[in-house]
Amino acid sequence: MTLMKSLMGAAAAFALTAGAAIAEPAIIFDLGGKFDKSFNEAAHNGAQRWANETGGTYREIELQSEAQREQALRRFAEAGANPIITMGFAMADPLAAVAPDYPDTKFVAVDVSWLDAPNIRQVSFAEHEGSYLVGIMAAMASKTGTVGFIGGMDIPLIRHFGCGYAQGAKSVNPDINVVANMTGTTPAAWNDPVKGSELTKAQISQGADVIYAAAGGTGVGVLQTAADEGILSIGVDSNQNHLHPGKVLTSMLKRVDVAVYDAMKAGENVETGKFTMGLAENGVGVAMDENNAPLVTDEMMAAVEKARQDIIDGKIKVVSYYENDSCPALQF
């Protein structure tokens, strides 16, 4: 009994010292949930990769409601987690409120770029550049001269996706018709595959034969209906080519996993400030694998590779929706 007690005491003491020695990183997933096959899942994959490689552990929470954002941040900060990684633009306001209260804690905000605090690492992605590349592929794959875009919740970030896509499509065919729809204006728009399906059918009836979905869980419905109706779709954030092999033209990769992995690897010493991950940093790109190989022609590959290089070299300038809250290629 006494032996047991001392053993347990030793174990507890060890656990305590271990906890004190290295602060655990923490990650806060957005409302879509960590298995959304998209944005949050990419973050989850990055965190898992770090855990597998280093044997470290991390804390995590999947938000269930808007009200939990600030609460979750404070909970982790009080518990000594460092760095605390947050997913999604909606964490910006809670972060602005919480970060000054914990000056010794580092925060990593993915998809945020406009905050002003010394202890936040703000990582944003050049989604318009990646979307430009898939726009090129869409325009080359389209036979009807009409391509579609389906966004989730109508926020500037999603317009940013659509804007790059339209510019890419128009760079191939200036007369191409880009049909763009948003699913809704509330967070429910991220999880409404039924509406995604209806939007897809509506766009097909307007002639679209390649549709790009930047809509979280709603995109599952878009990809499904596109596959059912025999047209091509384009996935987003994570590689979604495998969802319907041979029916998904490509996926616009947003390397959220890399951003999360890097932050966790740097640990408490993570560099703060504003960072943009674009084509040059391999932060965005197009997904190529055996599932979409039959769909992608050599000309497409060449065109994408050329555009990629031109964007990196500055020969092509993809206009960002954020620059003046409007898009030269697409009217929302």
Partner: protein, 322 residues
């Protein structure tokens, strides 16, 4: 001709979008006509959507999936009945609890069973309700006007759509032409009188709640295995509440319920098809179209267009006089 085809496509979309609303609305109609308010329609649909997709994914049979969805919805109905009829609890609170329960349980069980992050695997051929093509739909599609109406609008939906629309006359007949329907309506207006006549109030109310469960089950199964090929978390996306709005809009009458659901479906279909509608200089933003069902319901509730009077004993647990 082109705009006619667009019209047909919008109406086709309307039918698909109105079907889950209609089933849920009729479900609420039975329950509320018997004096049991049910804001748990959303939760029951969600539960049914999950279990129908899960069972269809495992067994490969969409019909077993449908049965499982109905069973799951019935369990929640029984829970609602137990809380609000037997134990005379607050019906609204019980309904809210059911919504929360369904939202949490579906994701939890899905994660445990399939490890795909709260969703079911995608369903393939046998696991989904395939569209039914009417005879001669192909040959008739060339005929002007009637051809597209027959082959596009009427034909090519899954069987649950036709079930939903057949439920409208069936509901009307049951409620207004049968003894059971008369008693069911009476129990929602004046349960004491029904009790005096020697008919079981509790039994009638349980029957109504059970019918409500079956219809919600079909609605959920239609979402997951008819419109979609699998369950995604929170996939009902507020349709249970729109159905409640339609019920009030229809003033608790079956035929009106159908028109209300078709109207709400049409508004959604138009909003999906045309982002911003330009009416000669005035642009109606898509958000206004999305909000219109709720605005119309408030207008009706406020009594501007006729009066919406709910069943008199609605929301009141029945306590037998001693």
């Amino acid at each position: 001709m082109d705009s006619f085809l667009t019209l047909i496509q919008v109406l086709d979309s309307t039918v698909r979008l109105a079907t889950p609303l209609l089933l849920a609305c009729l479900a609420g109609l039975y329950s509320e006509r018997a004096g049991i308010f049910d804001i748990g329609l959303e939760g029951k649909m969600l539960m049914a959507a999950f279990f129908s997709a899960a069972v269809a994914a495992v067994t490969g049979s969409v019909w077993l999936g449908l049965l499982a969805g109905i069973a799951a919805s019935l369990v929640l109905s029984a829970l609602h009945g137990l809380a609000s009829i037997t134990f005379r609890g607050n019906q609204l609170i019980s309904g809210v609890a059911i919504n929360f329960l369904a939202a949490g349980l579906t994701v939890l069980i899905a994660q445990d069973w399939f490890q795909q992050g709260g969703r079911t695997p995608s369903l393939f051929a046998g696991g989904r309700f395939e569209p039914i093509t009417f005879p001669f739909a192909e040959t008739l599609s060339g005929v002007p006007i009637i051809g597209p109406i027959y082959s596009e609008l009427l034909s090519g939906h899954s069987i649950l759509v036709y079930v939903a629309f057949l439920m409208v006359p069936a509901t009307w007949w049951v409620l207004f032409r049968t003894r059971f329907g008369l008693r069911l309506r009476a129990v929602g207006e004046n349960p004491a009188a029904v009790d005096t006549a020697g008919v079981s109030v509790v039994g009638l109310r349980y029957a109504a709640v059970a019918i409500c469960g079956v219809l919600c089950g079909i609605a959920g199964a239609y979402l997951a295995t008819g419109l979609q090929a699998g369950f995604v978390k929170d996939m009902t996306a507020g349709r249970g509440f729109i159905a409640l709005a339609a019920l009030i809009f229809a003033k608790w009458r079956p035929w009106h319920a159908m028109w209300a659901c078709l109207l709400f479906g049409l508004l959604q279909a138009v909003a999906l098809r045309f982002q911003n509608i330009d009416l000669g200089g005035i642009v109606i933003p898509v958000q206004a179209m999305d909000a219109l069902p709720y605005i119309l319901t408030v207008v009706i509730l406020a009594g501007f267009v006729g009066k919406a009077i709910p069943p008199k004993a609605g929301g009141e647990p029945y306590i037998k006089e001693r």
